[in-house]
């Protein structure tokens, strides 16, 4: 048994009083969870502490909180690990998750920012017609791929820390977009294009993510929502060529073209090209609105007109060759670490893999879904 100090953020909106910190010392074995610490404080010290929990085994997703500022499951965080990440005073800080209104103490209202958004992405399979007589046949890799987003337990840790949602509460958000990939990545689903068009055209959809990696860091289940969002963008832009009104596809295409031509980024072209080109009606108001900044930049010699207008750098032959080879492939060669694992992970498992391979029919699934490169 050891003593742990827990500092719990308390707030009851109904009282009208401001939030405050409440400190309790609990006695538990170090491998016990922060949740058990909170429950001991509630049971033995102060019955009014509000906390939501159910399974206590990291599978129901009820006890999402922030421990020492980082979101996660209270039941999945050992007290000794929490102490190790605590400040110098050795006090473990427990707060409610962010980006969501507080109902009481550690309990947040996940309805508007989480559940409504999950509903918004049509979170069910829209089966392909005609329905086969027996089961749908799909490749093994494509199903392993979607198990990553299926691992989500809806705890809201990613939503809690999403930096786009912090400024744009309407952002569909990491959890719901990962859920969307669960169906866009599923070869049995018939509505890939409609799903992507919907989320690409939405100003608060797939192109509202800033790649800040917060959700990857937050997720206690390894879902890596941001990676799933990038896959949604890749499929929207490259497979369905969806030209969204948010310039998401245009920006990506302009960037790729820019590097193919120049080898390194020529920013002066990237901005107008992301809006469809210098003379595109969409680009003109953007360029006019940035004129004062351009003037200041020229005045301060941050850039010179020659540097902005000319192309001093041309892509080396080697770079052009890489574009030629990789962009010329019939099928995307996408190495997926989640499916393949690292060589170190797979050491000794090669024989097992061979057995599985031998037991399965070779080749790509009939629907042409992408698999791993391996």
């Amino acid at each position: 048994m050891a003593e742990f100090k827990l500092k719990i953020r308390r707030y009851d909106p109904e009282t009208g009083a401001a939030p405050y910190w409440d400190e309790h010392t609990v006695e538990l074995e170090p491998h016990r969870s922060v949740l058990e610490g909170i429950l001991q404080a509630r049971n033995e010290k102060d019955g009014s502490i509000g906390v939501r929990c159910s399974c206590r085994s990291a599978i129901c997703g009820s006890c999402g909180v922030r421990v020492n500022g980082k979101p996660g499951l209270a039941c999945h965080t050992h007290l000794d690990d929490a102490l190790a990440s605590a400040g110098e005073d050795g006090v473990i800080e427990v707060e409610p998750m962010g980006n969501m209104p507080i109902i009481k103490d550690l309990i947040v209202d996940m309805d508007a920012v989480h559940w409504k958004k999950i509903q918004r992405v049509t979170p069910w399979l829209i089966g392909k017609e005609p329905v086969p007589e027996r089961e749908y046949i799909v490749s093994r890799e494509s199903m392993i791929d979607v198990t990553q987003s299926m691992a989500c337990i809806q705890c809201g840790a990613c939503v809690s820390d999403c930096l786009s949602m912090e400024v744009d509460p309407l952002f569909v958000g990491p959890a719901a977009l990962a859920k969307s990939y669960r169906f866009v990545g599923d070869p049995r689903d018939a509505a890939h294009e409609q799903r992507l068009k919907d989320l690409g055209e939405d100003k608060h959809g797939i192109y509202d993510c800033t790649h800040c990696f917060k959700c990857i860091e937050a997720c206690p289940k390894g879902v890596a929502p941001m990676n799933q969002i990038m896959r949604l963008r890749r499929i929207a832009g490259n497979d369905f060529h969806i030209k969204d009104r948010n310039n998401g596809e245009r920006h990506e295409a302009a960037f790729v073209k820019n590097i193919e031509k120049n080898g390194i980024l020529h920013e002066a072209d990237l901005l107008p090209d992301s809006y469809g080109g210098k003379f595109h009606p969409r680009a003109v108001p953007e360029l006019i609105s940035s004129l004062p900044i351009v003037m200041t930049a020229l005045l301060r010699r941050k850039m010179t007109p020659a540097k902005a207008l000319l192309h001093p750098h041309e892509a080396p032959e080697g770079v052009k060759r890489i574009f030629e080879v990789v962009e010329g492939r019939d099928q995307r060669n996408e190495f997926n670490l989640y499916i393949s694992g690292t060589d170190a992970d797979n050491e000794g498992t090669a024989e097992v893999a061979e057995l599985i391979e031998a037991a399965e029919p070779a080749g790509v699934a009939p629907d042409g879904t992408e698999g791993s490169s391996a």
């Binding site: 800033t210 860091e217 295409a253 790729v256 080697g318 990789v326």
Partner: protein
Amino acid sequence: MKVAYWPGCVSRGFTSELHGSMAAVAPMLNIELVELDRANCCGAGVIAEHSQELADTLNARTFALAQQEITQGADLMMNICSTCQGAQSECQQRLDASAEYRAQVNETLSDEGLEYQDGIINKNFLWVLVEDIGLDKLKTLVRNPLTDLRVGPFYGCYIVRPTDRLDINRAQPRDEYLDQVIEALGGTVIDYAGSHKCCGFPIITMNKEASLEQAGRHLADAVDAEADCLVTPCPLCHLNLDLQQPMAAKQVKRELNMPVLHLPQLVGLALGLSPEDLGLQHHIVKPTAVIDWSQAVVGGVGGW
């Protein structure tokens, strides 16, 4: 030490003062820069969004060019851009994970006679400062301690997350290095909400309001915490925080006037270089607070 030096694109484009200040600071830190002038853009996550293999192959090419320099005596590869660090580390993780995949990528590079071998060490200047030069050594080189200068660190997402890929842990707290460097230079670290958040730059063409709102909020938080300036190891953050600051101020409906320095500029000031040598005159937000301070310590800067 000698490094295979990848400056990135933006440091030679819209923030050329970054490239210049690194060149000015390097000899004072005894770093010999061997510039990888044939190398290419890291893709900034956007090329990976288009095609992972394309991003991986382009960065494998840069790594292979760096490894040629390493064979000829360079200690490691160094970059000066958080985004390059993150995007390149992501590709390196995939390339180093599988010999089979690496062979496919190297097959494409073979046309140019290049080959990437796994395990390259690629570090941002910030990491080199702390891990290879060392804070104690850095302290001995300081000629003008940044006494009374209140500096807010702004890391940039790509250099602090995900922690496992970037080898950030308690023994190697790379997400605290900027604070440590500011202190070693004699400055005061300002604690404010935005230090490890996103500047918003990646969505400036997709959702301008949300992008500028992020930049504006972090800058306003720094103003409220009474910072004299911010410092960042990421030129892309610099674009949203400095170049776009007038627009960000409009978005958050506040006056900001928060100077944003590139990391080598802050180091250079402490090592005794003049603000002009470090290109501070090229910034959109005039670094008045920094200059006032420099005048008191360094003497007149002239030419403003």
